[in-house]
């Protein structure tokens, strides 16, 4: 039962790493898996907020690294799901407080008892990123269908390949089908042509994610959320199930528009 260690990273900030970590963690735990999420963004922690666990933090990752707490003491158990845990980051320190070998040590300690270890990486390519990928088995690269996000994702994949931790799997987040249809947003094929790695998930832009974050209730718990459904699909794919990708290139909308047009002109 050795856990798989996944690092959720992106290069660019604000593309949805923390959202993805929280929601994939919740989705896997909902399928009965034992999951621990680690926030490695020391100094700018927010995985705890997205999961709605910020008022239960007693010990954090740096406390464990510096020996003030045992690993189990820092693991916050989520009350909504049977086996979902969070190890939060420290807010009053910075990335130098943790080293890559610390991360390897902690993940080795977690591996025997867990199914999944999800590490939320900070943005950038410096120490925080290096800490986050040190123990990884597979990197999940989150990007937006937007040129600067893709540029940074490409850089990250290059760095992963150089360290032989590549190439990773791709999650394209915040897709707006209407913009893709109009040619104002990169479509999936454009992104895959540059990044050329395996696609793991396509997540549509969905305001339910913003609402969920503010409430500390991840969208993957909401059966009506489209983004939530996409994250649940990712969890299934990670478990080995073949789930088809939604068509987010707007062809459904086009068909709807055409049928409305036909009805209005009275055509059969």
């Amino acid at each position: 039962m050795a856990a798989k260690v996944l690092t959720i990273t992106s290069g660019k900030g604000g593309v949805g790493k923390t959202t993805a970590t929280a929601n994939i963690g919740v989705a896997l735990a909902s399928l009965g898996q034992k999951v621990v999420c680690i926030d490695s963004d020391i100094g700018l922690r927010n995985l705890d907020v997205v999961l709605g666990l910020e008022n239960r933090i007693v010990y954090d990752l740096v406390d464990v690294v510096e020996g003030r707490a045992r690993l189990r003491q820092a693991m916050i158990k989520d009350k909504r799901l049977p086996e979902l845990y969070l190890i939060p980051a420290a807010q009053t320190r910075d990335k130098t407080a943790v080293s890559p070998s610390d991360m390897i040590r902690i993940c080795d300690e977690l591996r025997p008892d867990m199914d999944w270890v999800l590490i939320d990486s900070p943005a950038g390519i410096e120490r925080g990123f290096r800490n986050a990928i040190a123990a990884t088995d597979t990197a999940l690269i989150v990007t937006n269908p937007e040129v600067s996000a893709v540029r940074d994702a490409d850089r990250i994949i290059g760095l992963l390949e150089a360290e032989e931790k590549g190439p990773g799997k791709l999650i394209i987040n915040r897709i707006k089908p209407e913009l893709v249809e109009r040619g104002d947003m990169l479509d999936t094929a454009d992104v895959l042509e540059i990044l050329a790695i395996e696609l793991l998930g396509l997540i549509p832009e969905d305001e339910s994610v913003l609402i969920a974050t503010n409430r500390g209730n991840p969208a993957a718990l909401d059966m009506k959320s489209k983004a939530g459904q996409a994250f649940r699909d990712i969890a299934k794919r990670l478990m080995g199930e073949k789930v088809p990708f939604p068509s987010l290139d707007g062809t459904d909308n086009l068909r709807k528009k055409l049928s409305r047009l036909i009805h209005r002109t009275g055509a059969a």
Binding site: D152, I194, A196
Partner: protein, 232 residues
């Protein structure tokens, strides 16, 4: 009367040839010659061409010791005299110089060409290749990747990064790509950007014509026009 000693450097060591004469005179002549340049002979491997000298094992043993005193190894003795050859064999001295196999290198060529570096990979954002000769990439060059070459650049794939050919001033350098869509293209001191592409991409070659950067399809059906770095 001293006997003439001739020394020639060969691949296997020093070939020392003795003229015809009397061994009683030849031997001291040899030693005198060796002593005239002790540093030159020290550490050398000797191949002695003894011609017709008729020598016994004792003579050869004395010869070997004398050479050893001077830091030389008696590796081989060449002779047309039967007795000398047998004596050499009995002392464990070689009597033939092994023929050196000159293998024809499969890579020798009569055409000179010039140095190029070959990369069988896609260059990702942040990758940088700098080389004084030509650069050939079998793969894509993504936006954010850069190639700086003293010579020409060929990309067998999509060229979307930045490329500088002829970086040390060679204005005859060219840039070829299956899809020539660089963020920025330079040849020697000239710079151009890609206009937005319309339609399918074709293999193209960019070069300097009369002070302007020109990109033209790889197999032009009509003569190319110089046009302010704008694609045909």
């Amino acid at each position: 009367m001293p006997v003439s000693v001739n020394v020639k450097g060969i691949h296997e060591g020093l070939l020392i040839s003795l003229d015809e004469g009397n061994w009683e005179e030849a031997f001291p002549s040899l030693l005198e010659h060796l002593d005239s340049k002790p540093d030159f002979f020290f550490g050398a491997k000797a191949i002695l061409q003894l011609g017709g000298y008729d020598l016994h094992a004792a003579d050869l043993a004395a010869l070997r010791s004398a050479l050893a005193d001077r830091g030389m190894g008696l590796r081989t003795v060449l002779s047309i005299n039967e007795a000398t050859l047998r004596a050499a064999e009995s002392l464990g001295i070689e009597t033939k110089v092994p023929k050196r196999e000159v293998r024809e290198s499969p890579f020798s060529t009569e055409l000179q060409g010039s140095e190029a570096i070959f990369l069988h990979q896609t260059l990702r954002s942040g990758n940088s290749i700098r080389f004084s000769g030509h650069v050939v990439v079998l793969g894509d060059v993504n936006p954010g990747a850069e190639i700086v070459a003293g010579g020409s650049v060929i990309v067998w794939g999509h060229l979307r990064g930045t490329v500088h050919a002829g970086a040390s001033g060679e204005e005859g350098s060219v840039v070829c790509a299956m899809d020539l869509s660089p963020t920025q293209l330079r040849i020697a001191a000239y710079v151009a950007t890609s206009p937005p592409r319309r339609g399918k991409s074709l293999p193209e070659i960019a070069s300097l014509r009369e002070g302007r950067l020109v990109a033209e399809p790889w197999n032009p059906k009509e003569k190319p026009k110089a046009d302010d770095g704008v694609r045909e």
